[in-house]
């Protein structure tokens, strides 16, 4: 049986760990609120954007835009959006696992795969494969639209150059505070957004006056659309990360409590055994003196 002092030290240590995990839980929940409000703020922009895109792509000829060009797929680029920091349960591992599955599937079809990592955890996971084309790390803590723009520009250039024929984004979808799932979204070539709602509305409001032509507007909007997709993925990962960390830290705190309970039990047993032993000694000594 462990000595009294050892058990006591261990209890103190576990209690300190519980303090840390509890603090991390509270920090994560505060950050989650911030990330969620950022997501809410972005929603009107993205929904309006998609509406305008679907209005536009009705009349446009898809073959004439470099970003919409559908080619035979020889190389697939996967953009993996993860968080920069760990201690958030299986959140990043799930994304990386799905990415790995996708890569294997594409390679089985004889396609080449290149990876762009946004966030450090994806980079760490895939750096040994040698497939990473570019990595953007340490930006998930405080990112703005222009970060997404920079990355999207790079991806678009790579696509137009013909180095990739298809681009997918992999990120952690924020379903609720309790549930985050890895999700895949097609990014390039840009798909014409077709919705029935748009065609109904067109009938009411009549045709738009375009300035300049629809084609030229599309030329400007498509890169912006990539920004929207990427920024959206980054926002989702930001919120999911904090939600996942909250759950993970909550579990850790309750696990600590269980351990402390068990250790206290052991400690009390050991203490009692020690007291009993001492009593036996005293009684034995007294008996001996009586002679």
């Amino acid at each position: 049986m462990a000595s009294l002092k050892e058990v006591k030290n261990k209890i103190a240590g576990v209690k300190k760990t519980a303090q840390i995990t509890k603090a991390m839980n509270m920090v994560a929940s505060a950050r989650l609120r911030g990330a969620q409000s950022k997501m809410e703020a972005f929603r009107p922009y993205s929904s309006k954007f998609e509406e305008a895109m679907s209005n536009l792509s009705g009349g446009a000829n898809t073959g004439s835009f470099p970003l919409m060009e559908v080619r035979n797929v020889a190389t697939v680029e996967i953009v993996i959006v993860t968080s920069d920091r760990g201690l958030c349960g299986s959140f990043n591992a799930n994304i990386n696992k799905l990415a790995e599955k996708k890569i294997k599937a594409y390679e089985a079809e004889g396609k080449k795969v290149s990876i762009v990592c946004v966030g450090k955890k994806g980079h760490q996971y895939f750096k040994k494969t040698g497939k990473i084309r570019k990595s953007y790390t340490d930006i998930m803590a405080a990112f703005q639209m222009f970060h997404a723009r920079e990355i999207a520009q790079d991806i678009a250039e790579n696509f137009v150059n013909g180095a990739a024929d298809k681009v997918e984004v992999l990120y952690g979808h924020f379903k609720s505070v309790a549930i985050q799932r890895p999700a895949v979204q097609d990014m390039l070539p840009v798909q014409p957004v077709a919705s029935e709602q748009a065609s109904d509305k067109k009938a009411i409001s009549g045709d738009y006056i375009y300035e300049p032509s629809t084609e030229e507007i599309m030329d400007v909007m498509q890169p912006l659309y990539l920004n929207v997709i990427l920024y959206h993925a980054m926002l989702e990962v930001g919120a999911s990360e904090h939600a996942a960390r909250m759950t993970a830290m909550d579990n850790a705190t309750s696990a600590c409590r269980d351990i402390v309970n068990n250790l206290t039990l052991i400690y009390n047993k050991a203490r009692q055994a020690a007291v009993t032993g001492e009593l036996m000694d005293i009684v034995g000594g007294a008996e001996a003196l009586k002679g």
Partner: protein, 137 residues
């Protein structure tokens, strides 16, 4: 009171303006344009520059950076990457950004680097627009 049109300026960080106004003047692709109430459906790309709108005798100035705008159902919506009121603009920061952009521009033109040059030009335009708008208020 004359008829009004609903103006909405939306950025990735949320809506900046959502008001009924008399007239909107904006820097369009092919030049500045004004929009009054009941305008026909219209869609245009937007350059970096000054957006003004009037409410009665009051005129507001707004710096906007690139994006596009849509007019339909007596509502004009601007989707831009950033929008700032004249009062909110940090002139010192814009000044520094201008200097930085000029340096980058000079460097990029030396090396014949087209991508960096376009980026630096855009940054310079944003800085100049910010300074112009802040002077007006």
């Amino acid at each position: 009171m004359a008829q009004q049109i609903r103006l909405e300026v939306v950025t990735p960080n949320g809506a900046v303006v959502s008001e009924d106004v008399d007239i909107v003047n904006a820097p369009g692709y092919g030049g500045d344009f004004g929009v009054l109430a009941n305008h026909a459906p219209f869609l245009s790309t937007i350059r970096i520059g000054l957006l003004t709108y009037d409410q009665g005798k009051k005129r507001e100035n707004l710096m906007i950076s690139g994006g596009f705008c849509e007019v339909s159902n007596n509502k004009i919506t601007f989707l831009v990457e950033s929008a700032e009121h004249g009062k909110q603009i940090d002139v010192d920061r814009a000044m520094r950004a201008k200097e930085r952009a000029e340096q980058r521009l000079a460097k990029a033109s030396q090396h014949d680097d087209l991508i960096n040059r376009t980026r630096a030009e855009a940054a310079l335009q944003r800085a100049l627009a910010r300074m112009k708008v802040s002077k007006m208020t």
